[in-house]
Amino acid sequence: MSLLSLKQISKTFANGTRALGQLDLSVARGEFISLLGPSGCGKSTALRLIAGLDQTDSGSLTWNEARPDIGFVFQDPTLMPWTNVFDNVYLPLRLKGVTRTEATPKIMDVLTRVGLRDFAQSFPRELSGGMKMRASIARALVLRPALLLMDEPFAALDEITRLKLNRDLLELQAELGMTVIFVTHSVYESAYLSSRICVFSHRPGRIIESIDVGPSGPRDDAFRLTSAYLETCQRASTALQNAMERA
């Protein structure tokens, strides 16, 4: 069932940069879509438009039903440094007028899911980079959003932490049954996570190839050794190469 569709979307910034030209994308419920492309190709802009943080110049962005609650995870953890993990995760609920008492079980639940139950009282600077990102994900999930938008969330993390977070993210998606749109410039990350990979062209960005990876299924370390995974990497890699050459 369709969640949202973007038709012929274009976006030019005030300084004349054409970020997006003729972007078409249709998102079904439960999909895990990666937007894969070279840096500066407008992937993040597309995400911001979907979140409603920027306005489109032309084209249409239509929600099938009412616009659902959206969770957003930035490249930086973007935590409020002056308060602890609990209050950071409480923020979306607080802005919606939920009292602290009502919110506490929801916050503790989501903190448990991301593995930060024992760190509710810690301040962001007392956490490692991976834990900060987990707190950021917990904050995005606390409203139980139908759609989770992630803008290169793991790009700044070390490889081991990144693999672990990739695995945990898929588990969370399965548990909570949400749709994810994930911006990345890593072929391997997109091939491991996605049910569909959309490869972006150089600026002005549009989708030049859409690779169906199939149902997310059980993805564990063994999945990385399957021929299906390697084939997806190959295809995505070739498409990305084409995107770069056309620039």
Binding site: A51, L53, F74, T78, W82, R94, L95
Partner: protein
């Protein structure tokens, strides 16, 4: 580490010792240059007079700082919410800031009674660093966090209360520390102007008065008290800053950890 703390103390002691020796050996009379011991004796003898004057000056300084803080922060918040207010009134704040207080003081003394005029001067110099630093802090919030607040539909006042004010706190405290020293300087400058017109009761007035009477040791004693007052204000504000920021801001690492 210990020698790093010891060295400034030793230097200070050596300076005092040299001063004492110079006065004793050269037999300099106290109305030219009093020895440190003589200043100490004067501090004890004039204790009642000087501590009453110190209290007057401190009261004015603290009151001026409190006024400057509340009005400065309130204005900065209004400026941040409505930029036309900032464009309208910020230039006036700059004019008040760049005009030397010592030139404004005699004028204020004509229109206001001495205490109020001194308070007004101390307020005027302390007000600007708080206003400009807080305004800077309020407009320096992390843009990703601003996006996040927008995404969740936060109202402007929610943004102010939950995001902009906390992120402006380190800037405000930086302004407050500057303002603390300036409030004392403003009060002293105004008191000297007041003293010249024969009114006032604060420490600087006592300095002017003692000068007229050639009571040089008392001038030095009052000066020592002013320095001590300035250092105390700075230490208190430093302590407050560290307490408020130690858990989250890089400027104030928690030393106990």
């Amino acid at each position: 580490m210990r020698s790093a703390r010891l060295l400034p103390l030793l230097t200070f002691a050596a300076l005092l010792l040299g001063w004492e020796a110079l006065v004793q050996i050269q037999n300099i009379p106290p109305y030219v240059l009093p020895a440190p011991t003589r200043i100490l004796v004067t501090l004890r003898e004039d204790c009642a007079l000087l501590s009453a004057a110190l209290l007057v000056t401190l009261k004015i300084t603290v009151l001026a700082l409190a006024l400057a803080t509340s009005i400065g922060v309130a204005l900065a918040i209004l400026f941040a919410q409505w930029s036309w207010l900032e464009r309208t009134f910020f230039p006036i704040a700059v004019i008040l800031q760049v005009t030397p207080i010592i030139a404004i003081a005699p004028l204020l003394l004509i229109y206001l009674d001495a205490d109020t005029a001194v308070l007004a001067c101390a307020f005027l110099v302390a007000f600007f660093p708080i206003l400009s630093n807080t305004a800077l802090g309020l407009s320096s919030t992390d843009h990703n966090l601003r996006d996040l607040f927008d995404l969740y539909g936060a109202s402007p006042w929610q943004q102010m209360y939950l995001l902009r004010l906390p992120s402006a706190l380190p800037y405000f405290l930086g302004g407050l520390r500057i303002a603390g020293g300036l409030a004392l300087i403003g009060a002293i400058a105004a008191e000297i102007a007041a003293g010249a017109s024969g009114q006032g009761a604060g420490l600087a007035y006592r300095i002017v008065e003692a000068g007229y009477r050639l009571n040089i040791p008392r001038m030095f004693a009052a000066l020592v008290l002013i320095s001590v007052a300035g250092i105390s204000i700075w230490l208190v504000l430093e302590l407050v800053t560290n307490q408020l920021l130690k858990r989250w801001h890089d400027s104030a690492r928690d030393l106990s950890r």
